[in-house]
Symmetry: C2
Subunit: 342 residues, 2 copies
């Protein structure tokens, strides 16, 4: 190694992406969007758009097999993968699944994993059209390529938001993190007290545990938008937490953002978990990842009309001029910059 060794750890994911950014790719004129959105967008000869995305799930980083049933894992990775295509206002139609698996894992495990993958495929009407199975020495690494379509007038980029647009979110926030907190507590208890053969009773936490283990992709929003012939000005899916995704969307749109903390949709079950853990539930909602909800923007005048037809939606803020920055108004009326939140 050279004297100037710089580890990935020292520069972080963003530093790494910047390092890669120096290289110029060969480019096709049919490519409408390459890197920088939830999916790549390619124009076909007939004007329709092809959407492509790729997601990797690493044991020990994205999932923990001590508390994740494999059929749940299979379902979840398909939900997460197709969510990228939904976030472009597109229709996912096919996936390819690649697995790197340690030899010591059981065949039953692989069957359970695929059971979940195929169950999700049937639910979302997405076909498993191919893939790859290889060995790995240590852990399970799964990659899903997702293929989908959109008509040119439907496509929603992160970058299309306009000043004044309402920031809307489906469902509720922070539930997946609440579920993770419960499962991690159980794992800790199990590690400290040993396996007495008794399964923990998590029925009290069913809502949040499901949010963590078997989140649903919001196909219903995309269908409702199509039925109402409404196109979001911008859209992104919530995988890395609300603050991160609002920053990405507003950043790509060249605007600022203004959030109302009091408006954040948080389920009562999520609140109970945060209370039990003596943690701040708003931080679950702002920073908790993996909810797989969709964050999108609509011109103010369209919000009411759309909400009449799709009611699992909350307006949580609006896009503002770029020079106003990214801010949140707390329930107490204080105005905080995103930078001071984390």
């Amino acid at each position: 190694m050279s004297e100037e060794f710089k580890s990935i750890q020292s520069v972080g994911r963003n530093g790494l992406l910047k390092a890669i950014d120096q290289f110029e790719s060969f480019s096709n004129q049919e490519t409408i969007k390459a890197i920088g959105d939830d999916a790549a967008v390619i124009r076909e000869e007939n004007g329709n758009l092809t959407l492509l995305s790729l997601d990797t799930f690493v044991e020990g980083v994205h999932f923990d097999i001590t508390y994740t049933p494999f059929h749940h894992l299979g379902y979840k990775i398909i939900s997460a993968a197709i969510s990228d295509i939904l976030a472009m206002n597109g229709k996912p139609t096919s996936v390819l699944v690649s697995m790197a698996l340690p030899n010591r894992q059981s065949v039953q495990m692989v069957e359970d994993l695929y059971k979940g993958i195929y169950a999700a495929g049937h639910e979302y009407e997405v076909e498993v059209v191919g893939g790859d199975i290889t060995a790995n020495h240590s852990n399970i690494v799964i990659t899903i390529a997702t293929y989908g379509k959109a008509e040119a007038h439907e496509i929603a980029f992160r970058s299309g938001g306009k000043e004044g647009d309402a920031l809307c979110v489906t469902g509720d926030l922070g539930g997946a993190l609440a579920g993770l907190r419960v499962l991690m507590r159980e794992k800790k208890f199990w590690k400290e007290h040993g396996d007495d053969g008794i399964q923990p009773d998590l029925s009290e936490y069913e809502f949040v545990v499901k949010r963590q283990l078997v989140p649903k992709a919001r196909v219903d929003l995309i269908q409702a938008l199509k039925e109402e012939e409404i196109k979001p000005s911008a859209m992104i899916d919530l995988t890395q937490g609300l603050i991160n995704e609002v920053s990405e969307l507003a950043g790509a749109s060249g605007t600022g953002a203004y959030l109302y903390q009091a408006a954040l949709p948080i389920a009562i079950e999520t609140r109970h978990v945060a209370d039990e853990m003596e943690e701040d539930v708003d931080r679950y909602a702002l920073f908790g990842g993996e909810d797989l909800e969709l964050l999108f923007t609509l011109p103010e005048k369209e919000v009411e009309r759309f909400a009449e037809h799709f009611n699992d939606l909350t307006v949580i803020g609006r896009l503002v001029p770029k020079n106003e920055g990214m801010k949140m108004q707390t329930a107490e009326g204080e105005i905080i910059s995103f930078d001071d939140l984390s």
Copy 2:
């Protein structure tokens, strides 16, 4: 774990694929080919075909970073990935690259890897349209999704071979394995004698080492076929060794196969390495993987015409009736079944 624990190791890759095969996928009517060929094939509205494939490369399984320069690795994985699309007689146009990387790796390593990926992209006119970077604890795992196109009359499946068709192969065989043997010998020497800071002189082995580290995808064959308006009746790429790929192609085509051992194209440099290692060079040619050459079938009458325009091609056998099985005629005139070869 249940009392009937069956490990992946105990059933092997084929046993695993069989276990997965029990599940029925949701299916789209646009899907022409899902699992079972080099790439998935989807029909577009205008009748053209979209091709999709997914390949995973695992450190310690598919590559060894002790003797693989990272820019070579980047180049090689793109060559291997697009080879799947070429094997359908298609044109690869875009890739998505996903990496799971240990934090301890250097930024320089990632830059070198991407340098190779982008260099291959420029050479093959393939755009890097997206991807994913995540952490992994132990090793490097890279997955490439490849997207390509073909016109409906061009597509070549593994299954289209007919009795009597000539089995043709591009380039030469066994070179990548010969290169691997040289590199492994150097690694062993280095491990036993310690690193004296002197780089081994591999110039004598340049041909085979390049075949292992920077194999080229055979875009030239696909272009020549297009120019001559010749379509192979069947095609597959050589990643798992000739015997395996001939068996796959003939099996899918519902035929037997008859190989002429004396006809196998083997480079003189590959012979030298086998001699040095006191190994059988024909086994390199029959079982060595990763050559990235293309194996295809043509009706006998088209072979001569095509060979006038594309000369890096050897006829190594023919497809025969299924009941004649898979056999090879040795240089000594003996006829051996594939089953007795391995």
